[in-house]
Amino acid sequence: MSTDLGLPVTRSGVEGVPTYDGPPQTGKDFTSDQEVRWCPGCGDYAVLKAVQSFLPQLGLRRENIVFVSGIGCSSRFPYYLDTYGMHSIHGRAPSIATGIATAREDLSVWVVTGDGDALSIGGNHLIHALRRNVNMTILLFNNRIYGLTKGQYSPTSETGKVTKSTPMGSVDHPFNPVSLALGAEASFVARTIDSDRKHLTAVLSAAAAHRGTSLVEIYQNCPIFNDGAFDAIKGNDTKADAIIPLEHGQPIRFGAPDSSGLGQKGLVRDSETGGVKVALVADVGEDAIIVHDVYNPDPTLAFAISRLTDSGYLDQSPIGIFRQVERPTYDDQARAQVTTAREAVSGTPAERLAALIGGGDTWTVM
């Protein structure tokens, strides 16, 4: 079921987490007894199903998986999974997950968040989690709107968005979550779509296998307050031009196929801006097309590609893994320091406590 993206793994994100060796598990084993309470047609259902189906593939013990969320529609996610979980407070899930991941190497830690949760109230925690590279996977459900508070514009809404709080249109410039994550020097950044289970699952698999903070932006449709936000990249007659597919080792081509069966359009370096632009392959030649390299240690090109995402109505967006590089994780190093310090001492904790508090300049009163 999972797609092999051809990515070698040096040290797995789930190394240290006990594996499951009982009878085969299915999505049902990861489904809690709680009634799912999202609106009919919400993209969250598709993501939940995909995650429930994907988790058995991880091969981990259910009790060693933890989902942490913040506040918002998508943050109800942990209630529907029969793992350990915490539905925390607005924007703070990455900080709580940092505590969990640092405390316990034997846990697979997941954060579920939304565009408001992660990029408005919790923006600080998000960028610092990415900077530290704590071993966890962050699923950022981006519906480009505030759902739970009933329809205000979000930090990813297009400028000019007319909502309950912006009757004359919003005047804020939106964040591009992938650009933001790359700017924060994230070691794994990907983007996928709620309705494309195959791609979503492949990205989840790669994200879980990555040791460090994996940020996965999931385009997710809100049928109530922002319906159709992703129609261009979902529509059968439009998606070939709207999706710029990123596959490691492949030239980045999209649009209607040419005679070779590959897209007529491709990404090339833009000598004028120093960035990346779209060109017709017929005009520039195949050799000019950028070959995607997720392991590029320099994030500059990945950032340039991320800028091809429309900031207004989404007519065009790169989809796939932008960047996947090895970098030491915060939690591995923090634990290693504790381990090193522990190995350097002897005696029982009580003996060492007595030595600690009895240290320094002391005197005895008889």
Binding site: R61, V66, S95, L107, Q337, L356, G359, T362, V365
Partner: protein, 647 residues
């Protein structure tokens, strides 16, 4: 001429200089010498929030006061007997605190026109000594060129003039060490260790220290040496300890006694940062310190760690508590163990970062949305921070609740001799992790039971919920900030359930009172009509004030609260036994408000918010007035009985 040796029972010395003059170090070394000598002592560091305020100005003055005695003392002293002033600003800033007759040892070197102007002097006060217009006529002034003599003494090491002059604080320390007969070995050892890597600096400091001592012995400026005998103390091994260090040790001790590893999630803030610094050294005890991106992330990580089965701790000061409020509410709702350390400082807002205050009590008590009860524990002295920290962990782990540990800036930086406890005497704390399901869903026909895990089923005695940590098979569950259904813990918006859960969370915190020992009321005569109730660091000034009143022949009772929420069970009865209840606090009456609200007692406030500890003498006067009122008698504290001055 032979020097005279004079016996005194106690001395208060204040070292004052520029922020960069090393006054904190000087005071700390004098303290260590006095501790090693066996005096009882209490210290009061006082420094500006600016790291290096403009040199020579009043805002840049840093001081360290040490009170040492041949008997048990409780405060750092109201007024210094001796002021060591390293420049004009230090003289000017501290003069108003000196009683008539106090000694002033002043470094004349920096009394240039420029420095005098910077300090706001229009004329050199040292130039008019003995004249009719002598501004310092009330004091014994000893003008000494400390800097000049230091530079001369360390000439052989070839240091720059600036580096040579920097050793002047050690010269001053040597002089004072001679004057009070302090042992010198600990300071020489200390300097040898501290500057082990820079030989010339090490040698210059040791030389300056010895030169200061020798100057005292040979000069005719100082003809009297003072002797303060060791104080009788309970048998045991002692060390001098500051509140922040004792608090950090207490947290480590609580971790050891519970078998839990600590995860400290925190953000640097004055005056709490030293707790982070200290704990970061103790990784060998399984301590992880996480310096977060902000206060909220600090507590977030601590909550995450607690959910994972570690002991989550966060440390901050008042402004940080304000930022953590929502997360503390999450810990209340999820009923996870968590220790929240608040080292209080002057507020509101940024307030007085380096000064002390007790004005966060109501914030600790009520500073959250909804009914969110949090137990509160407060230490009463620097050494007591150790026991208070262990107690906070006991409550947090036993009752699965966030606990506020309310220290303050005075406790944090002040120090006192501390009798090192035996580890065996510390309480054992049982995390009692849940390992099995706890709820029978149904009993099958064959008698077997189908069970599941209910995260909100409670222990009958403590009302604590089970602590089931990830990695435990069969106990997978979800918790969060939304209201929980009683028992099963799933989301519930049911009105009756919410009412029940609000009351249950309160009842759980109230239940802690069952585990508290009876209060110790200090009422030696049994005839007192006035009770003084305090909490936190006012213990010292209150105790000293009460002693003064008693030494003058009057009756007064004292009780000090370690637990502010819940209050001990016998507090109401105790309050009811006295005609007048006085509540001294470094706020505008926060404990008084709580006592009035809970016990309908006419608690009378005694309140100062000066950023400094209460003054025992002033407080004694206030107690005296109340005693006079309660007993219908005249109270005069000015003619104490012979031992009256010893408080």
């Amino acid at each position: 001429m032979p020097k005279q040796v004079k016996q005194v029972d106690r001395v208060i010395i204040r070292f004052a200089g520029d922020s960069g003059d090393g006054m904190q170090l000087t005071g700390d070394r004098f303290t260590q010498e006095s501790a090693a000598f066996g005096n009882d002592l209490v210290t009061l560091p006082n420094f500006p929030a600016e790291i290096r305020a403009p040199q020579g100005t009043l805002p840049g003055v840093s001081s360290f006061q040490v009170h040492f005695a041949d008997h048990d003392i409780l405060t750092a002293g109201d007024a210094p007997d001796v002021l060591v002033a390293m420049n004009p600003a230090a003289l000017k800033a501290n003069l108003s605190d000196l009683p008539t007759g106090a000694a002033i040892i002043v470094d004349t070197h920096d009394f240039s026109d420029r420095n005098l102007t910077k300090a706001g002097y229009t004329a050199n006060p040292l130039a008019s000594l003995g004249d009719a217009n002598d501004q310092l006529g009330d004091f014994q002034v000893f003008p000494v060129d400390l800097t000049g003599m230091t530079v001369e003494a360390v000439k052989e090491f070839g240091l720059s003039r600036k580096d040579a002059a920097r050793a002047k604080n050690m010269f001053a320390l040597g002089l004072l060490s001679w004057m009070y007969g302090r042992p010198t070995e600990t300071t020489i050892d200390f300097l040898a260790r501290r500057f082990a890597k820079v030989e010339d600096i090490r040698d210059a400091n040791i030389t300056a220290f010895k030169a200061g001592w020798n100057f005292g012995e040979t000069t005719e400026t100082f003809m009297v040496q003072y002797e303060v005998k060791p104080a009788p103390m309970a048998p045991g091994v002692y060390r001098n300890i500051s509140g922040n260090l004792a608090l950090a040790y207490g947290l480590v001790a609580g971790a050891v006694q519970s078998g839990l590893d600590i995860v400290l999630g925190t953000y640097p803030i004055t005056p709490a940062s030293d707790i982070l610094h200290e704990l970061s050294k103790h990784k060998s005890f399984g301590v992880t310190t996480f310096q977060a991106e902000d206060e909220i992330a600090g507590i977030g990580a601590a909550i995450g760690a607690s959910f994972s089965g570690k002991l989550g701790i966060t440390s901050t000061s008042g402004p940080g508590i304000a930022l953590k409020s929502e997360a503390i509410g999450l810990a209340v709702m999820t009923e996870l163990p968590l220790v929240v350390v608040d080292v209080q400082r002057g507020g509101p807002s940024t307030g007085l970062p380096t000064k002390t205050e007790q004005a966060d009590l109501l914030q600790a008590m009520f500073g959250r949305n909804g009914e969110a009860p949090v137990p509160i524990v407060a230490p009463q002295s620097p050494g007591d921070c150790f026991d208070a920290a262990v107690e906070a962990i006991r409550i947090a782990v036993t009752y699965r609740t966030p606990v506020m540990l309310l220290s303050d800036g005075y406790l944090a930086n002040g120090s006192e001799p501390w009798r090192i406890p035996e580890v065996d005497d510390l309480p054992r704390i049982d995390p009692a992790f849940a390992t099995t399901t706890n709820h029978v869903v149904r009993t099958n026909d064959d008698g077997t039971e189908e069970t599941e895990f209910w995260p909100y089923l409670r222990d009958e005695e403590t009302l604590a919920r089970p602590w089931a940590i990830p990695g435990t098979p069969g106990l997978e569950h979800r918790i969060g900030g939304l209201e929980k259904g009683d028992g099963h813990g799933n989301i519930s918006y049911d009105p009756a359930n919410h009412d029940l859960m609000v009351r249950t969370r309160q009842a759980k915190v109230d239940r802690i009172a069952e585990s508290l020992p009876p209060l110790e009321v200090d009422d030696p005569s049994g005839a007192a009509k006035v009770l003084v109730v305090g909490w936190g660091s006012t213990y010292g000034p209150i105790g000293a004030g009460v002693r003064r009143v008693r030494k003058a022949g009057f009756n007064v009772a004292q009780v000090h609260l370690r637990h502010l929420n819940p209050f001990p069970k016998d507090l109401g009865d105790i309050l009811g036994r006295y005609d007048k209840v006085l509540v001294p606090e470094m706020n505008l009456g926060q404990l008084a408000l709580l006592l009035r609200g809970k016990y309908l007692v006419d608690a009378i406030g005694y309140n100062h918010v000066r950023g400094l500890p209460l003054k025992a003498a002033e407080l004694a006067e206030a107690i005296g007035h109340l005693v006079a009122e309660a007993e219908g008698i005249e109270v005069d504290l000015t003619t104490p009985t012979p031992e009256g001055a010893q408080a």
